[in-house]
Point group: C2
Chain length 336, copies 2
DNA sequence: CATTTCCCCGCAACCGGTTTCGTAAATAAA
DNA sequence: TTTATTTACGAAACCGGTTGCGGGGAAATG
């Protein structure tokens, strides 16, 4: 910038004001400066600017992992509108560990980011680290895996209704003994989905059997073992609801190994955004979450609050509904 | 920091030196400062530090998209070692557009990042924007989708051998009319894979028929149309090699609609990292790329060069081999 | 022609750490 | 004890933009 100033016989401040598009500078001078800047391929140092303005034009996205399609699509949604608003996106993975989540967030005390989008790890049982950050003036928007008690905006899907819908669908298809697979007892999304399931079952006078609440891990092989065990019980279920995408494979593999026909002997529905759902064997009935939309919305809400100064985000939950897509794994018929 | 200094009756410089772990400071003073810092939950402002040190401790990852499993897993690999080294990761998506790629990279002239990991878009036909950046002293490591002519380190998989292996496998399974599906004519990975395919075919005295080189798009429906057309030709192929993960679904769907049996009438092999490959109908034979390892390696190479000053990255290609995983879609038998 | 207003631009302080250099005190060497 | 060396810390410049304020000159007003 000094160079630019010297070259054009101007002061640094004038040049700076050109880049902030100040009204104090004549159109003529602006053009000259911008022309030379383009020629020299000059871009202002963002860190100098961040330092002075106390704004980083950067947000953080904190995710458990990017293994499944949901978070991939969410990233797309977030990035799309971050780019639109001229923000930069830092990505952090917690690997489902609360400790890492805390370490990551504590770094944000530094002013590295202007705001945070987070989907909490399934280990996360308290929100102190999040509240702490908010109190330091860094706005947070939850998406998908939210803390229901924390006073900020949450973007979720209609987990409870979806659970209900899934169970209802299985009941309609003749299931009477439905199992629910999950990877976490504490996560609100899992709890809510389960609540929906229970509600549907109770409504049909076939209350949920707690033995059918199956806790899985993040280890593929162990999940396979757990599910095989489930399917070898005397009173084995005739319907399975997988509350997470990555449990689908284990269910299918278990059935294959045990030669249990889907949907003949067992109907399967999964919360999933996998594009391969239609070409599975058999094609998989899913509850499909609006991942892209949720990411996008979360980002929009955050950027909105960033525009104004000193506005705290409303403590509300915004719900973007999921869709039930019926396929062969629950019906035997392919409905597209 | 000023606050800390005042509180402890020390100068700012002393406090600063504590955080850089300078030898000039006594152990005693360090402890005092760190203790108070912890109590106050103080973290140094990274931008002030970046400004002075001309290092951002941040790298950029530039990707076409995060739609498929490859890039998801690569991100995991990258993030894992970035965290280990204390680096931060900015993520940018080009959406397969060279224009965006250029815009993104040109921003890096600002010193926002210390280095870049990039997998180029399939529109990218020249590397001027990349060379430009390198000349400004920002090291670049390519991974997967590389520019073969650019003088820096490239992390790839053995695309050519994999193509050869795929074709060889189909030949072994009795295919005599093999089609190759791709989404780009310019991308080196696609070209190399095709070259491998051709080599295998030529070796078996059944040279590749150029009509069997099928160019797809990034539009699902259009791909379906294109593939259906391919499969309705008089001389329709008896084997398909899908060079990109996302073309798999279209192939399967086309076969379903046209009632073409896999692997009976058509054998299918795909370059894919999908975890659902084993549970497709039929399970899918894949060339599986070491996505996590490639991301990790790319990051390691980059960080290595970042440690030393003024070392330009060797213009070499590091190859991490892919694996052929044989399943039902080419054999009719499930080999696990 | 004198005065006011407005438009442009420069001066200098500032953001929050980092780093060079200097110095006083403590320790070692002569 | 004197001199040389080491240790521990402070003063101030610096990184590269940003911004409040002040001023010079041109245009507008009286």
């Amino acid at each position: 910038m000094k160079l630019l100033a010297k070259e054009l016989q101007l002061s640094v401040s004038t040049v700076s004001k050109v880049f902030t598009d100040s009204h104090e500078i004549s159109e003529q001078t602006k053009q000259k400066v911008l022309a030379l800047a383009k020629k020299l391929n000059y871009v202002p140092n963002p860190y100098a600017s961040s330092l002075r303005k106390r704004k980083s034009k950067t947000i953080a996205v904190v995710l458990p992992e990017v293994a499944d399609s949901f978070f991939s699509m969410a990233i797309n949604g977030i990035e799309s509108i971050a780019r639109e608003k001229g923000y930069h996106v830092l990505i952090y993975l917690t690997h489902e560990q609360m400790e890492r989540e805390q370490a990551i967030l504590s770094d944000f005390q530094s002013g590295r980011v202007d705001g945070v989008l987070i989907s909490i790890s399934n280990e996360t049982t308290n929100d102190e680290h999040i509240i702490d950050m908010m109190q330091r003036g860094i706005p947070v928007v939850f998406f998908d895996r939210v803390c229901e008690e924390t006073a900020t905006t949450r973007i979720t899907t209609n987990d409870r209704e979806s659970g209900q819908l899934a169970a209802q669908h299985l009941i309609d298809q003749g299931c009477r003994n439905i199992a629910y697979l999950t990877i976490s007892g504490s996560l609100s999304i899992s709890r809510n989905r389960l609540a929906g399931v229970k509600q549907a079952l109770t409504a049909h006078r076939t209350p949920f059997n707690e033995r059918n609440l199956v806790m899985c891990t993040d280890n593929e092989e162990e999940n396979l073992r757990i599910i095989k065990e489930l399917l070898q019980r005397k009173d084995r279920p005739d319907g399975i609801i997988a509350s997470v995408e990555k449990l689908t494979a284990a269910v299918y593999l278990a059935c294959k190994e045990l030669k249990i026909a889907i949907p003949g002997k067992l109907k399967v529905i999964s919360f999933s955004n996998q594009t391969t759902a239609p070409i599975l064997n058999p094609s998989l009935t899913t509850i499909t979450q609006p991942a892209f939309a949720m990411g996008k919305l979360a980002a929009e809400v955050l950027f909105n609050s960033l525009k104004k100064t000193n506005v705290t985000l409303k403590a509300e939950t915004v719900v973007v509904p999921s869709a039930l897509v019926v396929r062969e794994s629950t019906t035997g018929r392919d409905l597209g």
